[in-house]
Protein backbone atom coordinates (compact mmCIF):
# COMPACT_ATOMS: atom_id res chain seq x y z
CA UNK A 1 0.00 0.00 0.00
CA UNK A 2 1.58 3.26 -1.10
CA UNK A 3 1.63 6.36 1.06
CA UNK A 4 -0.86 8.10 -1.19
CA UNK A 5 -3.49 5.31 -0.95
CA UNK A 6 -3.17 5.37 2.83
CA UNK A 7 -3.62 9.12 2.69
CA UNK A 8 -6.66 8.70 0.49
CA UNK A 9 -8.17 6.12 2.84
CA UNK A 10 -7.77 8.48 5.77
CA UNK A 11 -9.37 11.32 3.85
CA UNK A 12 -12.22 9.04 2.87
CA UNK A 13 -12.85 8.12 6.49
CA UNK A 14 -12.65 11.73 7.57
CA UNK A 15 -15.13 13.01 5.02
CA UNK A 16 -17.53 10.09 5.34
CA UNK A 17 -18.88 8.93 2.00
CA UNK A 18 -16.66 9.51 -1.00
CA UNK A 19 -13.12 10.86 -1.07
CA UNK A 20 -12.02 14.48 -1.05
CA UNK A 21 -11.33 14.32 -4.77
CA UNK A 22 -14.90 13.32 -5.58
CA UNK A 23 -16.21 16.04 -3.29
CA UNK A 24 -14.00 18.58 -5.02
CA UNK A 25 -15.36 17.61 -8.44
CA UNK A 26 -18.82 18.75 -7.44
CA UNK A 27 -19.52 22.44 -8.23
CA UNK A 28 -18.80 24.92 -5.45
CA UNK A 29 -21.87 26.17 -3.65
CA UNK A 30 -21.79 29.57 -2.00
CA UNK A 31 -24.51 29.81 0.64
CA UNK A 32 -26.26 33.17 1.01
CA UNK A 33 -24.87 35.38 3.79
CA UNK A 34 -26.41 34.67 7.17
CA UNK A 35 -29.01 37.38 7.75
CA UNK A 36 -29.57 38.99 11.14
CA UNK A 37 -33.34 38.66 10.94
CA UNK A 38 -33.86 35.01 10.05
CA UNK A 39 -36.85 33.16 11.51
CA UNK A 40 -35.89 30.90 14.39
CA UNK A 41 -32.26 30.73 13.38
CA UNK A 42 -29.62 30.87 16.08
CA UNK A 43 -26.91 33.52 15.69
CA UNK A 44 -23.33 32.25 15.88
CA UNK A 45 -21.84 32.34 19.41
CA UNK A 46 -19.65 35.28 18.44
CA UNK A 47 -22.59 37.23 17.07
CA UNK A 48 -24.72 36.36 20.13
CA UNK A 49 -21.96 37.64 22.42
CA UNK A 50 -21.72 40.88 20.45
CA UNK A 51 -25.50 41.34 20.61
CA UNK A 52 -25.56 40.72 24.35
CA UNK A 53 -22.76 43.24 24.85
CA UNK A 54 -24.53 45.79 22.63
CA UNK A 55 -27.81 45.36 24.55
CA UNK A 56 -26.20 45.76 27.94
CA UNK A 57 -23.87 48.49 26.74
CA UNK A 58 -26.75 50.49 25.28
CA UNK A 59 -28.59 50.29 28.59
CA UNK A 60 -25.61 51.60 30.55
CA UNK A 61 -24.88 54.20 27.90
CA UNK A 62 -28.43 55.60 28.01
CA UNK A 63 -28.22 55.60 31.80
CA UNK A 64 -24.85 57.38 31.77
CA UNK A 65 -26.06 59.92 29.19
CA UNK A 66 -29.23 60.53 31.21
CA UNK A 67 -27.06 61.26 34.20
CA UNK A 68 -24.66 63.44 32.19
CA UNK A 69 -27.39 65.66 30.76
CA UNK A 70 -29.31 66.02 34.03
CA UNK A 71 -29.07 69.30 35.87
CA UNK A 72 -26.67 69.47 38.82
CA UNK A 73 -29.58 69.27 41.27
CA UNK A 74 -31.10 66.27 39.58
CA UNK A 75 -27.81 64.42 39.22
CA UNK A 76 -27.94 63.69 42.94
CA UNK A 77 -31.21 61.81 42.38
CA UNK A 78 -30.01 60.05 39.24
CA UNK A 79 -26.51 58.72 39.87
CA UNK A 80 -24.42 57.29 37.07
CA UNK A 81 -23.72 53.55 36.74
CA UNK A 82 -20.20 54.16 37.96
CA UNK A 83 -21.48 55.94 41.06
CA UNK A 84 -23.86 53.09 41.79
CA UNK A 85 -21.10 50.51 41.43
CA UNK A 86 -18.88 52.64 43.66
CA UNK A 87 -21.66 52.86 46.25
CA UNK A 88 -22.04 49.07 46.11
CA UNK A 89 -18.30 48.63 46.60
CA UNK A 90 -18.26 51.07 49.53
CA UNK A 91 -21.19 49.27 51.13
CA UNK A 92 -19.24 46.02 51.14
CA UNK A 93 -15.88 47.56 52.02
CA UNK A 94 -16.90 49.98 54.77
CA UNK A 95 -20.46 49.23 55.91
CA UNK A 96 -20.42 45.45 56.38
CA UNK A 97 -23.06 45.06 53.66
CA UNK A 98 -22.19 41.36 53.43
CA UNK A 99 -23.97 40.76 56.74
CA UNK A 100 -27.13 42.40 55.37
CA UNK A 101 -26.90 40.42 52.14
CA UNK A 102 -26.51 37.18 54.07
CA UNK A 103 -29.42 38.10 56.31
CA UNK A 104 -31.62 38.76 53.29
CA UNK A 105 -30.52 35.50 51.68
CA UNK A 106 -31.33 33.67 54.90
CA UNK A 107 -34.82 35.22 54.97
CA UNK A 108 -35.61 34.39 51.36
CA UNK A 109 -34.21 30.86 51.46
CA UNK A 110 -35.55 29.91 54.90
CA UNK A 111 -39.06 31.20 54.23
CA UNK A 112 -39.03 29.62 50.80
CA UNK A 113 -37.87 26.27 52.13
CA UNK A 114 -40.77 26.32 54.58
CA UNK A 115 -43.21 27.28 51.85
CA UNK A 116 -41.93 24.49 49.59
CA UNK A 117 -42.10 22.01 52.45
CA UNK A 118 -45.81 22.73 52.78
CA UNK A 119 -46.72 23.48 49.15
CA UNK A 120 -45.07 20.55 47.39
CA UNK A 121 -46.74 17.77 49.44
CA UNK A 122 -50.04 19.66 49.49
CA UNK A 123 -49.94 20.28 45.73
CA UNK A 124 -48.95 16.69 44.98
CA UNK A 125 -51.84 15.33 47.03
CA UNK A 126 -54.32 17.85 45.59
CA UNK A 127 -53.16 17.09 42.06
CA UNK A 128 -53.32 13.33 42.60
CA UNK A 129 -56.57 13.01 44.54
CA UNK A 130 -59.64 15.01 43.58
CA UNK A 131 -60.99 14.56 47.10
CA UNK A 132 -57.98 16.34 48.63
CA UNK A 133 -58.43 19.01 45.99
CA UNK A 134 -62.07 19.41 46.97
CA UNK A 135 -60.97 19.76 50.60
CA UNK A 136 -58.20 22.34 50.13
CA UNK A 137 -58.86 23.88 46.71
CA UNK A 138 -61.39 26.59 47.64
CA UNK A 139 -59.27 27.67 50.60
CA UNK A 140 -56.11 27.96 48.52
CA UNK A 141 -57.70 29.85 45.65
CA UNK A 142 -59.34 32.34 48.02
CA UNK A 143 -56.01 33.09 49.73
CA UNK A 144 -54.30 33.67 46.43
CA UNK A 145 -56.31 36.84 45.84
CA UNK A 146 -55.32 38.46 49.14
CA UNK A 147 -52.26 40.70 48.73
CA UNK A 148 -49.52 39.49 51.07
CA UNK A 149 -48.63 43.08 51.98
CA UNK A 150 -52.06 43.51 53.55
CA UNK A 151 -50.97 41.06 56.26
CA UNK A 152 -48.16 43.31 57.45
CA UNK A 153 -50.17 45.03 60.24
CA UNK A 154 -51.47 41.67 61.43
CA UNK A 155 -48.03 40.06 61.38
CA UNK A 156 -46.61 43.03 63.30
CA UNK A 157 -49.27 42.67 65.99
CA UNK A 158 -48.74 38.90 66.20
CA UNK A 159 -44.97 38.62 66.01
CA UNK A 160 -43.60 42.13 66.50
CA UNK A 161 -41.05 43.82 64.22
CA UNK A 162 -38.67 40.85 64.20
CA UNK A 163 -37.44 38.10 61.91
CA UNK A 164 -40.54 35.98 62.40
CA UNK A 165 -42.87 38.55 60.90
CA UNK A 166 -40.54 38.98 57.92
CA UNK A 167 -40.29 35.25 57.31
CA UNK A 168 -44.06 34.95 57.68
CA UNK A 169 -44.68 37.65 55.09
CA UNK A 170 -42.29 36.05 52.59
CA UNK A 171 -43.94 32.70 53.31
CA UNK A 172 -47.44 34.08 52.74
CA UNK A 173 -46.28 35.86 49.60
CA UNK A 174 -45.48 32.64 47.75
CA UNK A 175 -47.17 29.68 49.44
CA UNK A 176 -50.59 29.83 47.78
CA UNK A 177 -49.26 30.46 44.29
CA UNK A 178 -46.77 27.68 44.79
CA UNK A 179 -49.50 25.24 45.80
CA UNK A 180 -51.55 26.16 42.73
CA UNK A 181 -48.53 25.65 40.46
CA UNK A 182 -47.64 22.27 41.98
CA UNK A 183 -51.27 21.16 41.58
CA UNK A 184 -51.06 22.04 37.87
CA UNK A 185 -47.70 20.29 37.51
CA UNK A 186 -49.10 17.16 39.14
CA UNK A 187 -52.26 17.13 37.07
CA UNK A 188 -50.14 17.43 33.93
CA UNK A 189 -48.67 13.96 34.56
CA UNK A 190 -50.11 11.81 31.75
CA UNK A 191 -52.88 9.47 32.88
CA UNK A 192 -51.21 6.65 30.99
CA UNK A 193 -48.18 6.78 33.30
CA UNK A 194 -50.45 6.26 36.30
CA UNK A 195 -52.49 3.57 34.57
CA UNK A 196 -49.35 1.80 33.38
CA UNK A 197 -48.27 1.66 37.03
CA UNK A 198 -51.64 0.33 38.15
CA UNK A 199 -51.65 -2.41 35.49
CA UNK A 200 -48.17 -3.40 36.69
CA UNK A 201 -49.59 -3.88 40.16
CA UNK A 202 -48.38 -0.66 41.79
CA UNK A 203 -50.24 0.28 44.97
CA UNK A 204 -51.52 3.83 45.35
CA UNK A 205 -48.59 4.88 47.52
CA UNK A 206 -46.11 3.27 45.07
CA UNK A 207 -47.83 5.03 42.18
CA UNK A 208 -47.52 8.34 43.98
CA UNK A 209 -43.90 7.84 45.05
CA UNK A 210 -42.49 6.00 42.02
CA UNK A 211 -44.50 7.53 39.19
CA UNK A 212 -46.33 10.77 39.95
CA UNK A 213 -43.50 12.41 41.91
CA UNK A 214 -40.67 11.72 39.43
CA UNK A 215 -42.96 12.50 36.49
CA UNK A 216 -43.92 15.88 37.95
CA UNK A 217 -40.50 16.68 39.45
CA UNK A 218 -38.97 18.68 36.56
CA UNK A 219 -42.06 20.88 36.25
CA UNK A 220 -42.22 21.35 40.04
CA UNK A 221 -38.57 22.36 40.00
CA UNK A 222 -39.41 25.02 37.39
CA UNK A 223 -42.28 26.26 39.56
CA UNK A 224 -39.97 26.52 42.56
CA UNK A 225 -37.44 28.46 40.50
CA UNK A 226 -40.07 30.90 39.28
CA UNK A 227 -41.64 31.38 42.70
CA UNK A 228 -38.37 32.04 44.53
CA UNK A 229 -37.95 34.93 42.09
CA UNK A 230 -41.26 36.27 43.42
CA UNK A 231 -39.93 35.79 46.93
CA UNK A 232 -36.98 38.06 46.10
CA UNK A 233 -39.41 40.71 44.88
CA UNK A 234 -41.19 40.58 48.25
CA UNK A 235 -37.94 40.99 50.15
CA UNK A 236 -37.90 44.80 50.28
CA UNK A 237 -41.52 44.91 51.42
CA UNK A 238 -40.74 42.37 54.13
CA UNK A 239 -37.70 44.28 55.33
CA UNK A 240 -39.59 47.56 55.61
CA UNK A 241 -41.39 45.96 58.55
CA UNK A 242 -39.29 47.26 61.43
CA UNK A 243 -36.26 47.85 59.25
CA UNK A 244 -33.08 46.85 61.10
CA UNK A 245 -30.97 44.69 58.84
CA UNK A 246 -31.05 43.16 55.40
CA UNK A 247 -30.77 44.70 51.95
CA UNK A 248 -34.24 46.21 52.16
CA UNK A 249 -33.46 47.90 55.49
CA UNK A 250 -30.26 49.40 54.08
CA UNK A 251 -32.24 50.74 51.12
CA UNK A 252 -34.96 52.20 53.37
CA UNK A 253 -32.37 53.93 55.55
CA UNK A 254 -30.64 55.30 52.44
CA UNK A 255 -34.03 56.59 51.26
CA UNK A 256 -34.40 58.63 54.41
CA UNK A 257 -31.10 60.40 53.62
CA UNK A 258 -31.87 60.67 49.90
CA UNK A 259 -28.87 58.51 49.05
CA UNK A 260 -30.16 57.34 45.69
CA UNK A 261 -26.87 55.66 44.76
CA UNK A 262 -27.24 53.28 47.71
CA UNK A 263 -30.89 52.56 46.86
CA UNK A 264 -29.86 51.69 43.32
CA UNK A 265 -26.96 49.60 44.62
CA UNK A 266 -29.50 47.65 46.69
CA UNK A 267 -31.71 47.10 43.66
CA UNK A 268 -28.68 45.96 41.68
CA UNK A 269 -27.66 43.60 44.50
CA UNK A 270 -31.11 41.98 44.62
CA UNK A 271 -30.99 41.58 40.84
CA UNK A 272 -27.61 39.87 41.05
CA UNK A 273 -28.83 37.59 43.85
CA UNK A 274 -31.95 36.78 41.81
CA UNK A 275 -29.90 35.73 38.81
CA UNK A 276 -27.63 33.73 41.10
CA UNK A 277 -30.64 31.94 42.63
CA UNK A 278 -31.99 31.15 39.19
CA UNK A 279 -28.69 29.62 38.09
CA UNK A 280 -28.53 27.70 41.38
CA UNK A 281 -31.98 26.15 40.85
CA UNK A 282 -31.25 25.33 37.22
CA UNK A 283 -28.01 23.65 38.25
CA UNK A 284 -29.71 21.63 40.96
CA UNK A 285 -32.37 20.51 38.48
CA UNK A 286 -29.77 19.60 35.88
CA UNK A 287 -27.71 17.57 38.34
CA UNK A 288 -30.57 15.83 40.11
CA UNK A 289 -32.67 15.08 37.01
CA UNK A 290 -30.24 14.62 34.13
CA UNK A 291 -32.86 12.59 32.24
CA UNK A 292 -35.12 15.63 31.92
CA UNK A 293 -32.47 17.61 30.02
CA UNK A 294 -31.36 14.98 27.51
CA UNK A 295 -32.88 15.33 24.11
Amino acid sequence: MSASTVQEAIVERATGAGGRSELNESPIYVPPRARIFEFRSKPSPARAAVFAAVGLGAFFLVWQLGHYFSSDVNQKFFPSPVQVLTALYTLFAANNFLADVLKSCYRVFASFALAALVAVPAGLLMGSFKSVRALLGPLVSAWRYLPAASFIPLLLVWFGPNDTSKLALLFLGVIFFLIALVVDNTEAVPNEFIEAGLTMGASRSKTLMDIIIPAAAPAIMDSLRNMIAVSWTYLVIAEIVGAQDGIGAVMMRAGRFLKVDIIMAGILMIGILGVFTDVLFRTIARLSMPWAFKR
Partner: protein, 276 residues
Protein backbone atom coordinates in the same frame (compact mmCIF):
# COMPACT_ATOMS: atom_id res chain seq x y z
CA UNK B 1 -64.61 -43.64 22.32
CA UNK B 2 -61.41 -43.05 24.22
CA UNK B 3 -59.92 -41.14 21.35
CA UNK B 4 -62.97 -39.00 20.94
CA UNK B 5 -62.92 -38.18 24.63
CA UNK B 6 -59.24 -37.24 24.51
CA UNK B 7 -59.91 -34.98 21.58
CA UNK B 8 -62.81 -33.37 23.34
CA UNK B 9 -60.62 -32.79 26.38
CA UNK B 10 -57.84 -31.29 24.32
CA UNK B 11 -60.31 -29.17 22.45
CA UNK B 12 -61.81 -27.83 25.64
CA UNK B 13 -58.36 -27.16 27.00
CA UNK B 14 -57.49 -25.09 23.96
CA UNK B 15 -60.84 -23.39 23.97
CA UNK B 16 -60.86 -22.55 27.69
CA UNK B 17 -61.86 -18.88 28.03
CA UNK B 18 -59.36 -16.94 30.11
CA UNK B 19 -61.48 -13.82 30.04
CA UNK B 20 -65.24 -14.00 29.99
CA UNK B 21 -67.21 -10.84 29.36
CA UNK B 22 -70.92 -11.39 29.57
CA UNK B 23 -73.63 -8.88 28.78
CA UNK B 24 -71.42 -5.87 29.40
CA UNK B 25 -72.93 -2.40 29.22
CA UNK B 26 -71.01 0.78 29.63
CA UNK B 27 -72.59 4.20 29.75
CA UNK B 28 -70.90 7.55 30.20
CA UNK B 29 -72.35 10.82 31.42
CA UNK B 30 -75.32 9.30 33.29
CA UNK B 31 -76.51 7.37 30.28
CA UNK B 32 -75.93 10.14 27.74
CA UNK B 33 -73.50 7.92 25.82
CA UNK B 34 -73.84 4.16 25.55
CA UNK B 35 -70.31 3.08 24.70
CA UNK B 36 -71.06 -0.64 24.98
CA UNK B 37 -74.45 -2.27 24.62
CA UNK B 38 -74.83 -5.83 25.86
CA UNK B 39 -71.46 -7.08 24.68
CA UNK B 40 -70.38 -10.65 25.39
CA UNK B 41 -66.92 -11.85 24.40
CA UNK B 42 -64.88 -14.85 25.55
CA UNK B 43 -61.15 -14.67 25.12
CA UNK B 44 -59.55 -18.06 24.72
CA UNK B 45 -56.17 -19.04 26.03
CA UNK B 46 -53.21 -18.20 23.77
CA UNK B 47 -55.47 -16.68 21.18
CA UNK B 48 -54.62 -13.34 19.60
CA UNK B 49 -57.79 -11.30 19.24
CA UNK B 50 -57.99 -8.01 17.37
CA UNK B 51 -60.74 -5.49 18.16
CA UNK B 52 -61.46 -3.72 14.89
CA UNK B 53 -63.99 -1.06 13.95
CA UNK B 54 -64.42 2.65 13.32
CA UNK B 55 -63.51 5.23 15.96
CA UNK B 56 -65.85 5.67 18.90
CA UNK B 57 -67.27 2.13 18.84
CA UNK B 58 -66.22 1.16 22.35
CA UNK B 59 -63.08 -0.84 21.53
CA UNK B 60 -60.93 1.08 23.99
CA UNK B 61 -63.71 1.02 26.56
CA UNK B 62 -64.01 -2.78 26.33
CA UNK B 63 -60.24 -3.16 26.61
CA UNK B 64 -60.09 -0.86 29.63
CA UNK B 65 -62.89 -2.79 31.33
CA UNK B 66 -60.95 -6.03 30.79
CA UNK B 67 -57.85 -4.31 32.19
CA UNK B 68 -59.85 -3.26 35.24
CA UNK B 69 -59.20 0.43 34.58
CA UNK B 70 -62.92 1.04 34.02
CA UNK B 71 -66.00 -0.51 35.64
CA UNK B 72 -68.87 -1.78 33.50
CA UNK B 73 -72.26 -0.17 34.12
CA UNK B 74 -73.86 -3.61 33.88
CA UNK B 75 -72.66 -7.13 33.22
CA UNK B 76 -69.74 -9.17 34.44
CA UNK B 77 -66.18 -9.58 33.26
CA UNK B 78 -64.13 -12.34 34.83
CA UNK B 79 -60.69 -13.81 34.51
CA UNK B 80 -60.39 -17.54 35.19
CA UNK B 81 -63.77 -17.36 36.88
CA UNK B 82 -63.01 -14.45 39.23
CA UNK B 83 -64.79 -11.15 38.62
CA UNK B 84 -62.44 -8.37 37.57
CA UNK B 85 -62.81 -5.38 39.88
CA UNK B 86 -59.54 -3.54 39.27
CA UNK B 87 -56.21 -3.64 37.47
CA UNK B 88 -53.82 -6.52 38.08
CA UNK B 89 -50.32 -7.43 36.87
CA UNK B 90 -51.96 -10.60 35.48
CA UNK B 91 -53.29 -8.38 32.71
CA UNK B 92 -50.53 -6.25 31.24
CA UNK B 93 -51.44 -3.21 29.18
CA UNK B 94 -49.64 -1.40 26.39
CA UNK B 95 -50.97 2.06 25.61
CA UNK B 96 -50.92 4.06 22.40
CA UNK B 97 -49.24 6.96 24.23
CA UNK B 98 -45.63 6.18 25.07
CA UNK B 99 -45.50 5.08 28.69
CA UNK B 100 -41.83 4.24 29.07
CA UNK B 101 -40.88 6.27 32.13
CA UNK B 102 -38.42 9.01 31.12
CA UNK B 103 -36.88 9.14 34.61
CA UNK B 104 -35.71 5.51 34.44
CA UNK B 105 -33.16 4.01 32.08
CA UNK B 106 -34.48 1.43 29.62
CA UNK B 107 -33.16 -1.30 31.92
CA UNK B 108 -34.81 0.13 35.06
CA UNK B 109 -38.05 0.60 33.15
CA UNK B 110 -38.15 -3.08 32.29
CA UNK B 111 -37.23 -3.99 35.85
CA UNK B 112 -39.93 -1.83 37.39
CA UNK B 113 -42.86 -4.22 36.99
CA UNK B 114 -40.77 -7.13 38.25
CA UNK B 115 -39.66 -5.03 41.24
CA UNK B 116 -43.30 -4.45 42.14
CA UNK B 117 -43.86 -8.20 41.98
CA UNK B 118 -40.97 -8.78 44.38
CA UNK B 119 -38.61 -10.49 41.94
CA UNK B 120 -35.11 -10.61 43.52
CA UNK B 121 -32.63 -8.06 42.16
CA UNK B 122 -30.23 -10.42 40.42
CA UNK B 123 -32.99 -12.31 38.67
CA UNK B 124 -34.70 -9.07 37.75
CA UNK B 125 -31.56 -7.64 36.14
CA UNK B 126 -30.87 -10.76 34.11
CA UNK B 127 -34.47 -10.96 32.99
CA UNK B 128 -34.59 -7.28 32.04
CA UNK B 129 -31.56 -7.67 29.78
CA UNK B 130 -33.14 -10.70 28.17
CA UNK B 131 -36.32 -8.79 27.35
CA UNK B 132 -34.31 -5.81 26.11
CA UNK B 133 -32.43 -8.15 23.79
CA UNK B 134 -35.75 -9.52 22.62
CA UNK B 135 -36.91 -6.04 21.57
CA UNK B 136 -33.37 -5.24 20.33
CA UNK B 137 -32.63 -2.48 22.81
CA UNK B 138 -29.76 -4.12 24.70
CA UNK B 139 -27.33 -1.51 23.35
CA UNK B 140 -29.25 1.36 24.93
CA UNK B 141 -30.11 -0.45 28.18
CA UNK B 142 -28.51 2.26 30.30
CA UNK B 143 -29.87 5.24 28.39
CA UNK B 144 -32.91 7.28 29.35
CA UNK B 145 -35.85 6.99 26.92
CA UNK B 146 -36.17 10.79 26.57
CA UNK B 147 -34.01 10.77 23.46
CA UNK B 148 -35.47 7.58 21.98
CA UNK B 149 -37.60 7.43 18.82
CA UNK B 150 -41.29 6.56 19.16
CA UNK B 151 -40.65 2.96 18.14
CA UNK B 152 -37.89 2.57 20.72
CA UNK B 153 -40.04 4.08 23.48
CA UNK B 154 -42.84 1.69 22.62
CA UNK B 155 -40.43 -1.25 22.63
CA UNK B 156 -39.29 -0.29 26.14
CA UNK B 157 -42.93 -0.28 27.27
CA UNK B 158 -43.54 -3.61 25.50
CA UNK B 159 -40.50 -5.22 27.13
CA UNK B 160 -41.61 -3.87 30.50
CA UNK B 161 -45.12 -5.27 30.06
CA UNK B 162 -43.83 -8.67 28.95
CA UNK B 163 -41.35 -8.74 31.84
CA UNK B 164 -44.17 -8.62 34.39
CA UNK B 165 -45.21 -11.94 32.78
CA UNK B 166 -48.93 -11.28 32.41
CA UNK B 167 -51.08 -14.13 31.15
CA UNK B 168 -53.18 -11.61 29.23
CA UNK B 169 -51.62 -8.83 27.16
CA UNK B 170 -53.89 -5.91 26.30
CA UNK B 171 -52.83 -3.38 23.68
CA UNK B 172 -54.70 -0.22 22.68
CA UNK B 173 -53.56 0.80 19.20
CA UNK B 174 -50.00 0.12 20.31
CA UNK B 175 -48.42 1.02 16.97
CA UNK B 176 -50.94 3.69 15.97
CA UNK B 177 -48.59 6.60 16.61
CA UNK B 178 -45.69 5.09 14.68
CA UNK B 179 -44.80 5.72 11.07
CA UNK B 180 -45.47 3.01 8.50
CA UNK B 181 -42.03 1.44 8.41
CA UNK B 182 -41.65 1.28 12.19
CA UNK B 183 -45.19 -0.08 12.53
CA UNK B 184 -44.30 -2.86 10.12
CA UNK B 185 -41.16 -3.68 12.10
CA UNK B 186 -43.17 -3.72 15.33
CA UNK B 187 -45.75 -6.05 13.80
CA UNK B 188 -43.07 -8.53 12.78
CA UNK B 189 -41.55 -8.21 16.25
CA UNK B 190 -44.96 -9.02 17.74
CA UNK B 191 -45.13 -12.21 15.62
CA UNK B 192 -41.70 -13.20 16.90
CA UNK B 193 -42.71 -12.51 20.50
CA UNK B 194 -45.96 -14.46 20.16
CA UNK B 195 -43.96 -17.47 19.02
CA UNK B 196 -41.82 -17.24 22.16
CA UNK B 197 -44.27 -16.09 24.82
CA UNK B 198 -47.51 -18.01 24.85
CA UNK B 199 -50.01 -15.35 25.78
CA UNK B 200 -53.62 -14.42 25.40
CA UNK B 201 -53.56 -11.13 23.54
CA UNK B 202 -56.12 -8.48 22.69
CA UNK B 203 -55.09 -5.65 20.41
CA UNK B 204 -57.29 -2.73 19.44
CA UNK B 205 -56.46 -1.49 15.96
CA UNK B 206 -57.80 0.62 13.11
CA UNK B 207 -55.53 -1.09 10.70
CA UNK B 208 -57.24 -4.00 8.92
CA UNK B 209 -54.00 -5.33 7.45
CA UNK B 210 -52.43 -5.32 10.90
CA UNK B 211 -55.42 -7.15 12.37
CA UNK B 212 -55.25 -9.91 9.75
CA UNK B 213 -51.48 -10.20 10.08
CA UNK B 214 -51.40 -10.48 13.86
CA UNK B 215 -54.72 -11.96 14.93
CA UNK B 216 -56.19 -15.44 15.11
CA UNK B 217 -59.57 -13.87 15.58
CA UNK B 218 -61.07 -10.51 14.65
CA UNK B 219 -63.91 -9.01 16.66
CA UNK B 220 -65.54 -6.26 14.63
CA UNK B 221 -67.33 -3.50 16.58
CA UNK B 222 -70.25 -1.52 15.26
CA UNK B 223 -71.07 1.97 16.42
CA UNK B 224 -73.56 3.92 18.46
CA UNK B 225 -74.15 2.00 20.56
CA UNK B 226 -70.98 -0.10 20.54
CA UNK B 227 -71.74 -3.75 19.83
CA UNK B 228 -70.07 -6.78 18.31
CA UNK B 229 -70.98 -6.80 14.64
CA UNK B 230 -68.92 -9.81 13.61
CA UNK B 231 -66.65 -12.36 15.25
CA UNK B 232 -64.32 -13.79 12.63
CA UNK B 233 -61.76 -16.58 12.96
CA UNK B 234 -58.87 -15.94 10.61
CA UNK B 235 -59.22 -19.42 9.08
CA UNK B 236 -56.95 -19.11 6.08
CA UNK B 237 -53.84 -18.80 8.25
CA UNK B 238 -54.64 -22.16 9.91
CA UNK B 239 -52.87 -21.05 13.06
CA UNK B 240 -49.63 -20.21 11.26
CA UNK B 241 -47.66 -17.09 12.01
CA UNK B 242 -45.70 -15.45 9.22
CA UNK B 243 -42.37 -13.93 10.28
CA UNK B 244 -42.36 -11.95 7.04
CA UNK B 245 -45.44 -9.93 6.39
CA UNK B 246 -45.26 -10.24 2.59
CA UNK B 247 -45.62 -14.02 2.94
CA UNK B 248 -49.05 -13.49 4.46
CA UNK B 249 -50.20 -11.30 1.58
CA UNK B 250 -49.54 -14.17 -0.83
CA UNK B 251 -51.80 -16.58 1.08
CA UNK B 252 -55.05 -17.64 -0.61
CA UNK B 253 -57.91 -16.16 1.39
CA UNK B 254 -56.04 -13.07 2.49
CA UNK B 255 -57.54 -10.70 -0.07
CA UNK B 256 -61.07 -12.00 0.47
CA UNK B 257 -60.87 -11.37 4.21
CA UNK B 258 -59.38 -7.94 3.69
CA UNK B 259 -62.12 -7.00 1.22
CA UNK B 260 -64.76 -8.31 3.58
CA UNK B 261 -63.42 -6.23 6.47
CA UNK B 262 -63.06 -3.09 4.35
CA UNK B 263 -66.66 -3.50 3.18
CA UNK B 264 -67.83 -3.83 6.79
CA UNK B 265 -65.83 -0.78 7.75
CA UNK B 266 -67.41 1.26 4.95
CA UNK B 267 -70.87 0.06 5.96
CA UNK B 268 -70.30 1.19 9.53
CA UNK B 269 -68.85 4.55 8.58
CA UNK B 270 -71.76 5.23 6.23
CA UNK B 271 -74.27 4.16 8.88
CA UNK B 272 -72.64 6.52 11.37
CA UNK B 273 -72.73 9.37 8.81
CA UNK B 274 -76.40 8.69 8.08
CA UNK B 275 -77.25 8.67 11.80
CA UNK B 276 -75.52 12.01 12.36
Amino acid sequence: MMVAEMNAMQMSKIAVPVIQASRVWKQFGNGAVTALKDVSIDLRENEFTAFVGPSGCGKTTMLRIIAGLEHPTRGRVSMNGATITGPSPERGMLFQAYTSFPWLTARRNVEYGMKLLGVPKAEREASAMEFLRLVRLEKVADKYPGGFSGGMKQRVALARTLAQNPSVLLMDEPFGALDAQVRWEMQELMIELMERERKTVVAVTHDIEEAIYLADRIVFFSCQPGRVKADIQVEFKRGRRFPKKEDLLAQPGYTELEQHLFAMMREEIQAAAAAA
